[in-house]
Symmetry: none
Subunit: 198 residues, 4 copies
């Protein structure tokens, strides 16, 4: 599974060769087909393996426990970066899966969709609503707007992370301090933007 993940993530479904996967995993090709029936099944199993892995370590308490927006976003950003650093292949596989697995069975599609949803509006709502409830929101500013902006911030952090990782492939968490600082700036502006002035 680990080898399969690496190969599919780096080369895509068609680019990954069963021969290579077997060789790098130090097993025979035959055994792969005994356990996974065919390449498509192997791919799906790998997809599931990746989502399970991320799901098993994902710790949403970083969201729930935060007392204010700044803390929440900073923690969440740190956490997401850490996750992406720790599981870059899982992320890449799942990000590509949507496009590649257009003819995958619906069970798989569900799993993939799940992964995506964790980064979308609905999920964001759950996370930040409790905090927003405690804050005085300026008139004319909808929850949806704030959620969109927060997602935008996360997208932007994702982009900045990607850029940094391309420049410095073996980065560790401290290399991301600048990005965390940027996030603080974003949140500060957002709060000024949607909170009532007293």
């Amino acid at each position: 599974m680990a080898t399969s993940l690496t190969e599919f993530a780096h080369r895509g479904y068609r680019g990954a060769k069963t021969e290579d996967i077997a060789q790098k995993a130090v097993v025979s090709k035959g055994i792969i087909f005994r356990y996974y029936k065919n390449k498509a099944h192997l791919y799906m199993a790998t997809l599931k393996f990746a989502t399970d892995r991320i799901e098993s370590v994902a710790d949403y308490s970083v969201w729930h426990d935060a007392q204010d927006l700044d803390a929440m976003i900073v923690n969440a950003t740190k956490y997401k970066i850490q996750l992406q650093l720790q599981y870059p292949e899982e992320f890449k596989l799942l990000l590509d899966a949507y496009a590649e697995a257009s003819d995958a069975p619906s069970a798989l599609k569900h799993e993939i969709a799940e992964f995506y949803n964790n980064q979308t509006s609905a999920n964001m709502a759950n996370m930040i609503d409790p905090i927003l409830n405690r804050l005085p929101i300026r008139n004319n500013v909808s929850r949806k707007t704030i959620q969109g902006l927060m997602l935008g911030v996360l997208d932007q952090v994702g982009a900045e992370t990607k850029t940094l990782m391309q420049k410095k492939p073996d980065a560790d968490l401290t290399d991301f301090d600048d990005i965390i600082e940027n996030v603080r700036g974003y949140i500060d502006v957002l709060e000024h933007g949607f909170l009532k002035k007293e």
Copy 2:
């Protein structure tokens, strides 16, 4: 080229078959190899075709001519959506190319990078700086922060667009009115966030 673009965009490099491309383009396989030497060259030529096409119609005046942030972002958003609607295959191809063309010659990589750059920080700075110069920015808010937030807004719009297009593949501009409305909300919050209160 048009057929090649469609096939590569929909099926990826390996999924696209030269036979199919030839057949759909109503030409013979042979002539493809006469002009493009091999599949890899055909892919690169298609990439160039896509970037050229987008570059040839891209009209950056929507950015320069705007008098305020709201107008600029709204126009730019409309324009980008329109472009993406008009050239969905070009966008898809180029978005995937980054991952697929890991062993492409550097000349091609340059082209792809170019396409990506048009959606990054450096470009954003050029666009919005003239407008920011005319506005009273709150202390403690850096240009970089504002640029990052703007990019976040664009990313978010991109995501919302993608989602909408998946739900409604044959959408037209009017279907995107809600998204435009969202953008207005985002900008309003941002401006409240980084402008000095009088």
Copy 3:
């Protein structure tokens, strides 16, 4: 290898089809490419197979053990004919290889050259010198001249052999008695020509 040898020998590099080789060898095309990477490698392997085969059976004692020129040349001729009858495809392949393998790697060229050298001046010198040392050579006759004439005799025998084999493809050793008789005549004349008269 055996089938490959036959096909390449009869049809040349380009005329031999991998499909045919596979079919006649009662194996699949695929397995050929697994073992030999591509057609060029298969050809080289076949070349090596042919040289090895001939080298492995070549018994140069027929040269060394002879006590006089007549015995040596007659034995050698018989032996060479026998070899060529036994390995006609190997001979044909290697004879053609020199022309075909103009872009072969130098390792291969070495092998081919080796095969050719066994039929040249340097080799001939080694073989007949011990015998010539025991004979009274007429003044004005150089070793080189005698070697050249011996090679000429061998060339001529080769030509006569080829002609006979074309007329009678399934000839056996006894069919070559006339040629052996010719050789005796040649040697007789040569000896009269270069030995001192007592």
Copy 4:
């Protein structure tokens, strides 16, 4: 024709591409097929072109005019070397043709056979018989033996010539003086071998 000759001689029937022949001859592919119907016909025409060229310049008087064996063979050798230097491609094409044109029409085969015959026993007999008639031949030495030995000498000269040309591709006639000297040695030995001692 000249280009065709060069290409076929260097690459063989299958290795020569009509595209290349056309390009190097600075004509269109189309015109080749108009004049020669197909590749096989082009090949045959080229073969005929080569034999005609050699036949048109071949001057057999060098054989007939000689008064003694030494003069004859030396002249003939010089002449043959000159011919081979002047028409290396024609020689190569015709030498290969025998193997390649196994399915050529019989008319062609006749032409090729003709070329070969000029270098065989029957032809040799015509050439040297008049001279031998004037010489006292030792008992027990047959005409056939002498012819065979003379052919052997010519073969050997051919081999020496080939070797020299490979070492020194742009050799001229004077570079072959050593070979001519060798020939003198060969003939001297042969004459001593088959003439009656007085």
